[in-house]
């Protein structure tokens, strides 16, 4: 995309996300209309960074992560389809279980097991894409009928996500179909998407706390004048900017280590933002009348998807302690 196209695309995505922040199905429709999936195929960096950062900032949800799965697997079609594919029946998708990045399905000699997380929208179609570890260790794209899965709606910490757990314990894949996919690529793209969404949400929390600090007066002056408040917000900005820079570097670098680091640092930055901004917003931010709580809930869930800050950090440390090489620093 050139500069003008980039700007137009960014504006269109922003408008779509902001207009349909509370309505995932409507946002899916708007993204299909503006050709987001086509942009993903042409320029994943631009498509993912713009949409997910905005989605995080607006506390919106969509099925876009399904397209990201599809793009990583080298197959369009997970998630709602767009354009000429519209006539084909749309396929849903599921993600790895909370905290993990193993493919959600696993196939043994005489078993097919699914432990997955989805959303109400992502599991609505009659066919569901389940990335599956097959007997030889490779990862296949299985498509299973919806009726084969046990879907249980989750209220949980973040009801706004409309999460669903998806289980299946069967002897075989049955009516499902299989093709081979590149799972590490899926994990990488999903982590980038989630990293951007976390950073977007962290930035939104910072803006909520910042405007509150400027308006709220105590002892005859805005609380933004108190250094204890200022330094919390400054630390939040440092965390967010560090994460943002790493996401950029990870797009440039492309290696799995840098991507995992970017996701972990984004998760940690979002937790830093949640802690500091909640404190600055104080009683206001503790009520459901103020939007902060929705972001706090969201980032805690997003951090756990495809590996949390804690898990990815410990995994990296363990590998180094065991004598593994340091990740190669990004060149100047």
């Amino acid at each position: 995309m050139d500069g003008t196209e980039h700007r137009l695309f960014e504006d269109a995505v922003r408008r779509a996300v902001d207009a349909h922040a509370g309505d995932p199905a409507a946002l899916d429709g708007a993204l299909a209309e503006l050709g987001w999936a086509d942009a993903l195929a042409v320029d994943p960096r631009v498509a993912i960074s713009i949409l997910f950062e905005r989605q995080g900032a607006a506390n919106a949800t969509s099925s876009a992560i399904g397209h990201v799965l599809g793009a990583g697997l080298g197959a369009r079609g997970a998630g709602p389809t767009a354009g000429e594919e519209e006539s084909a029946s749309p396929r849903g998708y599921v993600l790895p279980a909370l905290g993990t990045w193993d493919p959600p399905g696993s196939q043994g000699d005489d078993s097919f097991v699914v432990r997955a997380l989805g959303t109400a929208t992502s599991t609505a179609p009659e066919s569901i894409v389940v990335p599956t570890r097959v007997a030889d260790g490779s990862v296949a794209i299985c498509t299973v009928p919806r009726r084969g899965l046990t879907l249980v709606p989750v209220h949980g910490l973040d009801p706004g996500l409309d999460l669903v757990t998806a289980h299946m314990d069967a002897d075989s894949i049955g009516d499902g179909s299989i093709s081979i996919g590149d799972w590490p690529a899926v994990v990488g793209l999903a982590r980038m998407a989630l990293g951007h969404e976390l950073v977007g949400a962290a930035g939104a929390m910072l803006e909520l706390a910042r405007s509150h600090a400027l308006e709220r007066e105590q002892f005859g002056r805005p609380i933004a004048a108190f250094q204890a408040v200022r330094h919390r917000l400054a630390d939040t900005l440092v965390a967010v900017e560090g994460a943002r820079a790493l996401l950029d570097a990870a797009w440039d670098d492309g290696g799995p280590d840098m991507v995992a680091t970017a996701k972990a640092v984004a998760g940690r930055a979002a937790r830093v933002a949640a802690r500091h901004c909640q404190q600055v917003l104080a009683g206001m931010g503790f009520t459901t009348e103020h939007p902060l709580h929705r972001y706090v809930r969201r980032v805690l869930v997003l951090d756990e998807l495809f590996g949390s800050a804690r898990t990815l950090t410990t995994e990296l440390g363990r590998r180094l302690v065991a004598g593994g090489p340091l990740p190669v620093p990004i060149p100047l």
């Binding site: 004048a225 917000l233 440390g317 990004i330």
Partner: protein, 376 residues
């Protein structure tokens, strides 16, 4: 010359000239040994051309992107050829001269700094003026074609070895705050200057007190105009947080590798280690973006305070990790390698103090980047 070409050429050259560039001392060495090593490396790299890239031709440079300077410092520090702190002072002092000195003065002086013929220092802080630079009191009064300087500076790095000093003085009234400050380029052998090195906790007497007693400085040694010293200082400070900081980040990355090699089995907590690696990666990613902005001609400003906070945090976390894992070295070891870990661990305590304290950086971020208004 583009960065790829420069990198390949420099790496080859460093490989071929390893023995003549290597330090003669083991470990960190004394300050005198570090300075002698620095002068040697600067002379060789200047004569071979490497040190001249990225600097304008009118001060003896060969032109080209500032990224070349960033890579040269990275290569020299990760090969353990220079101590990054004293190496990177050039990155602050030379741009100040290029920006504000009368062109003939810059043309005469900057090559001496780049080639390692001279050491320069930077006289900013005073006993009564730490973070609040606008309160500085060291006075200069006009006496015909010269300034007469009286007062005191402190924390002046390398003053005892320096031939020149970029000095901030008050030329306005005591109440003139930042408006009455002027920058001068002072010869350190001028009559009336007394330097007293300060013993520091990490064992390197790099900081000094400098006393000025009616020191005469020709008016053609004024940097910028009279009363423009604040602008000189404000332009200089972001340089402390750009190329110099890239060099330091590269040094920390290098030391992290050495820590992993030296740490005994089971001495490193995986979570703390992983986080340190990630912090250094975030610092490098951020500083890399800053290097590219600078190379594109963008004016650096308060956003570089983010880089400094990331650096100080990463540096202290790295050496906290080292102190725990290498307790034997840091607490008891007296060989050069152990002494270097001890010295650098102690020096890392100052990472949140020098070059604008952690609190000042956060104040800058709050006021200038977050728009939180004044803190009064």
């Amino acid at each position: 010359v583009d960065l790829q070409e420069f990198r390949a050429g420099l790496d080859d050259w460093l490989g071929a000239h390893g023995p003549e560039l290597a330090p003669v001392h083991d470990g960190a060495g004394t300050l005198e040994q570090q300075l002698a090593q620095l002068a040697k490396v600067k002379r060789h790299t200047f004569d071979a051309g490497w040190m001249r890239w990225g600097w304008p031709e009118q001060v003896g440079g060969l032109g080209g992107s500032t990224l070349l300077r960033a890579y040269l410092g990275e290569a020299l520090t990760t090969a353990d050829l220079v101590e990054p702190g004293i190496y990177s002072m050039t990155e602050v002092l030379a741009p100040t001269m290029i920006g504000y000195a009368p062109p003939p003065l810059a043309a005469a002086m900057v090559p001496r700094l780049l080639r390692g013929e001279e050491t320069w220092c930077q006289g900013f802080s005073e006993p009564g003026t730490g973070s609040n630079l606008a309160a500085l009191a060291c006075r200069a009064v006009r006496d015909g074609e010269r300034w007469l300087v009286s007062g005191q500076k402190v924390w002046t790095s390398l003053a005892q070895h320096a031939q020149r000093c970029v000095l901030l003085v008050r030329t306005g009234t005591p109440e003139s705050a930042h408006r009455g400050v002027t920058a001068l380029f002072v010869d350190m052998d001028s009559p009336g200057i007394t330097v007293r090195p300060i013993e520091t906790m990490h064992g390197v007497p790099e900081f000094c007190e400098v006393f000025f007693d009616d020191v005469a400085v020709p008016t053609e040694r004024t940097l910028g105009d009279e009363g423009q010293g604040w602008a000189v200082a404000m332009d200089l400070l972001p340089f402390e947080r750009s190329t110099a900081l890239w060099h330091r980040g590269a040094h920390l990355q290098h030391r992290l590798g050495q820590l992993l090699e030296r740490a005994p089995a089971d001495s490193l907590d995986p979570m703390a280690l992983g986080e340190t690696v990630q912090l250094l990666a975030a610092l490098r990613a951020r500083s890399r973006a800053t290097q590219h902005r600078m190379a594109a001609g963008e004016r650096l400003g308060p956003e570089t305070s983010v880089d400094k906070v990331l650096l100080a945090t990463a540096e202290q976390q790295l050496f906290d990790l080292a102190e725990g894992a290498l307790a034997e070295d840091v607490l008891l070891g007296d060989d050069p390698i152990a002494a270097r870990w001890r010295s650098e661990f102690l020096y890392s305590r100052a990472a949140t103090i020098y070059g604008g304290s952690a609190e000042i950086q956060r104040n800058i971020i709050a006021r200038r980047l977050l728009g939180l208004g004044d803190d009064r």
